[in-house]
């Protein structure tokens, strides 16, 4: 057991740190969403030129092939430097890795480079109004075109349905789309993973205003939208398995960064409490201490998972817990911060935004209830309810 960095890891950290010092683009423009997005796109271009964009991707696909520890170090340094997110975060964290894992050579050739450069933005079309936690029940249908009933291969697919909670859909060129290609198969088996071109009239994107007042997400309406057959990833009927890979990448990708973000916000909160003269309040002291314990437990659990994955290739049980721990801790942290500020904390501010935004943490990317089901069934081996 050694929680310090090896000399190679230290050298890697120093390299990342000094690159960020030299290349940090400064604070993101406020207010105007499209200006912010362009800013993030330029930032991604810069990251890509220096070889940081696809840090986890294999070298043969334009990535850096970094180890898990190096990826964690990179996330930490990005968070420490308060560097902006790259514009195409969903393509980098989910779309690209899925194409690398399940795509064919043509797809790798076609899709990977523009993901890295930020030239083509990706979004994710999984959730539907009627299919949230029960994702496999989704209804968006994909009908083979010119496939006939004679077993001749489909030339393409026509997709009709509705997706919701789609980040970046307004800017996206491609959508990772899960749709039902076989209505007669059992619900997990009738799904296919498509890469849908968003730039067609048959796809309508409408912003979805959330409780924070902003529209971070969108709804997508598809009416006979066209997907060529070569944009099926992982084979017809394998959509569930391919989609699960996406979600695993999403949860793993968020892990290291979320622990660092929590640490940073907690440091800010401690400073705020001091500034407001509330450091002697025993209730606040106890709540801060609980948050400190939670933040460290999250960080250390992440490191244990990392070690286990490096040693065995299989993440340990702690990994399934991280999303749940983080959501709980982030909600408690922002509740405490707004309470410390009093009525001022409810005015329009960074803290009141974080406070409201954190309510989604226990829903997005799998609800806390679903996380508990996963822990109970897959880690503890308890019987399934269904």
């Amino acid at each position: 057991m050694d929680l310090t960095l090896t000399s190679e890891e230290q050298a890697f950290r120093d390299e990342v740190r000094s690159w960020l010092e030299a290349n940090h683009p400064g604070p993101e423009p406020e207010g105007d969403d499209s200006a912010k997005f362009e800013f993030q796109r330029e930032w991604q271009g810069k990251l890509h030129e220096a070889g940081w964009a696809g840090i986890s991707w294999p070298k043969e696909y334009g990535g850096r092939g970094a180890t898990l520890v190096e990826q964690a170090i990179f996330s930490e340094e990005m968070a420490r430097a308060r560097a902006p997110r790259p514009a195409n975060v969903l393509g980098l964290v989910m779309g690209g890795p899925v194409v690398i894992a399940h795509g064919d050579e043509d797809q790798k050739e076609r899709f990977l480079e523009p993901i890295l450069s930020g030239e083509e933005i990706w979004c994710q079309g999984f959730s539907e109004p009627e299919s949230g936690s029960d994702l496999a029940s989704l209804k968006t249908k994909a009908v083979a075109e010119n496939g006939g009933g004679d077993g001749s291969p489909a030339k393409g697919w026509r997709v009709t349905g509705q997706k919701v909670w789609t980040t970046f859909a307004h800017a996206a060129k491609w959508c990772m789309l899960l749709a039902r290609s076989d209505p007669d198969a059992p619900k997990h088996k009738g799904l296919t993973y498509f890469i849908l071109d968003m730039e067609q009239d048959e796809v309508d994107v409408r912003p979805l205003r959330q409780i924070t007042g902003e529209a971070e997400f969108n709804e997508i309406f598809m009416e006979n939208a066209y997907v060529p057959d070569e944009n099926v990833v992982g084979g017809v009927g394998n959509g569930w398995m391919v989609g699960i890979t996406t979600l695993m990448h999403e949860r793993a990708g968020l892990g290291a960064a979320s622990a660092v973000a929590l640490r940073r916000d907690l440091d800010d909160l401690v400073a705020l409490i001091q500034e407001r003269g509330l450091a002697g309040d025993p209730v606040i002291r106890d709540r801060v201490a609980r948050l400190q314990v939670a933040a460290e437990a999250l960080r250390l659990g992440g490191l244990r998972t990392l070690t286990q994955t490096m040693r065995t290739g299989i993440p340990g049980p702690e990994g399934s817990l991280a999303k749940w721990q983080w959501a709980d801790a982030n909600q408690e942290l922002t509740e405490l911060a707004t309470q410390v500020l009093g009525p001022e904390g409810l005015e329009r501010s960074e803290w009141s935004y974080k406070f409201l935004r954190s309510r989604a943490n226990s829903i997005e990317g799998g609800t806390t209830e679903v996380m508990k089901n996963i822990v109970a069934e897959r880690v503890l081996g308890l019987p399934r309810l269904r």
Binding site: M1, V270, A279, V288, A297, T307, Q308, Q325, L382
Partner: protein, 337 residues
């Protein structure tokens, strides 16, 4: 960066798990708890394995390993719910080693390491102090103002007390004099807190396993109760509590050996988390077990009571959170103005 045990540590863990499962069977634990006694032959076996001296240097008869190895043993002893004087003896060793001078180390550590002249330590600042495993010990470490002193057993008076936890012996000890140890007790006290946190982690793990096993088998309304989310989510929470306690205990063990400047915070976090985890998990396990969990016949109550008593050794979770708040940078007094 590597947050896992090395081969030797894994071997220690495996050996400990197997040895304790064979010696401290549920029947044996029950027999010892019901008679509120220890088995001297088992202590001799534990001593022959070198466990009492695991973190004591070789010059004083120990194995010269570190806190991580001690953490491993404490976790397994908690998991086995083993009635032994191990923890109090280890605590005395840690305190004398960290706070004592050469003469104290030379006098007491060899007996503590061999298990032949045990030590015992007070885990609370009360006077008279409640000391686990005081009877039969040669040396007793007691609080003395802000420091600690070592008292010869022959100079002390014992008044046995029966806490709800029957898997450990306790006595109120009063004694005059003894040797005041010259060092700052902070590092020693933190190390003891880490050992206690590790034992609590093992207790939580065992109670969780009991609850999960029962939830898989017990059927009501035509299906295993573990299929109901009211029960399965309770079990998931047990895993979260146990794993958080474990991550923090291992980290604190590592910090004690490798990064002492991080030890005060690491130990306070570990003890705060583990005290709550062990109680929450054992209490929650009793709820999953339902009526059978409330019977004397079921073994869970030994764990539940040990969790409660051990959770208070060296201070409560609330006291440790207060320490965490201080270390995180919240000034104890309100900032003026």
């Amino acid at each position: 960066m590597d947050f896992g045990f090395n081969d030797e540590q894994q071997e220690i863990q495996r050996t400990a798990r197997e040895f304790l499962a064979a010696r401290f069977t549920p029947e044996k634990v029950r027999e010892l708890a019901e008679s509120r006694s220890y088995d001297d032959s088992l202590w001799n076996e534990i001593s022959e394995l070198g466990w009492p001296g695991i973190a004591i240097d070789e010059a004083h008869g120990g194995q010269g390993l570190g806190m991580i190895e001690l953490v491993i043993l404490c976790e397994e002893l908690g998991y086995a719910c083993a009635p032994t004087p191990f923890l109090s003896n280890a605590a005395a060793g840690l305190l004398i080693d960290a706070v004592g001078g050469d003469e104290h180390r030379d006098e007491w550590l060899p007996g503590i390491a061999s298990g032949e002249a045990r030590g015992a330590a007070a885990f609370t600042p009360d006077d008279p102090a409640v000391v686990p495993d005081a009877e039969g010990a040669a040396a007793i470490v007691l609080p003395e103002g802000d420091g600690v002193r070592v008292v010869r057993a022959s100079d002390a008076e014992f008044d046995p007390v029966e806490l709800i936890d029957a898997t450990r012996a306790y006595a109120r000890v009063s004694a005059e004099g003894g040797d005041a140890l010259p060092g700052d007790p902070a590092a020693g006290v933190s190390r003891v807190a880490v050992a206690v946190a590790a034992e609590l982690t093992g207790i939580a793990q065992r109670a969780m396993e009991m609850a999960v096993e029962y939830a898989k088998e017990r059927e009501q309304f035509g299906r295993p109760i573990g299929a109901y989310q009211a029960v399965s989510h309770r079990c998931a929470r047990m895993l979260l509590d146990t794993e958080e306690a474990r991550s923090l205990a291992y980290y604190a063990g590592w910090a004690a050996d490798a990064e002492p400047e991080s030890l005060p915070m690491a130990a306070a976090m570990a003890k705060a988390r583990a005290s709550d985890a062990a109680w929450d998990v054992t209490a929650s396990a009793l709820q999953v077990l339902g009526g059978i969990g409330f019977t004397w016949e079921h073994d869970l109550h030994f764990l539940l009571k040990r969790a409660r008593a051990t959770g208070q050794l060296m201070g409560t979770s609330g006291q440790y959170r207060e320490r965490v708040a201080e270390l995180v940078g919240l000034a104890a007094e309100p900032v003026p103005g």
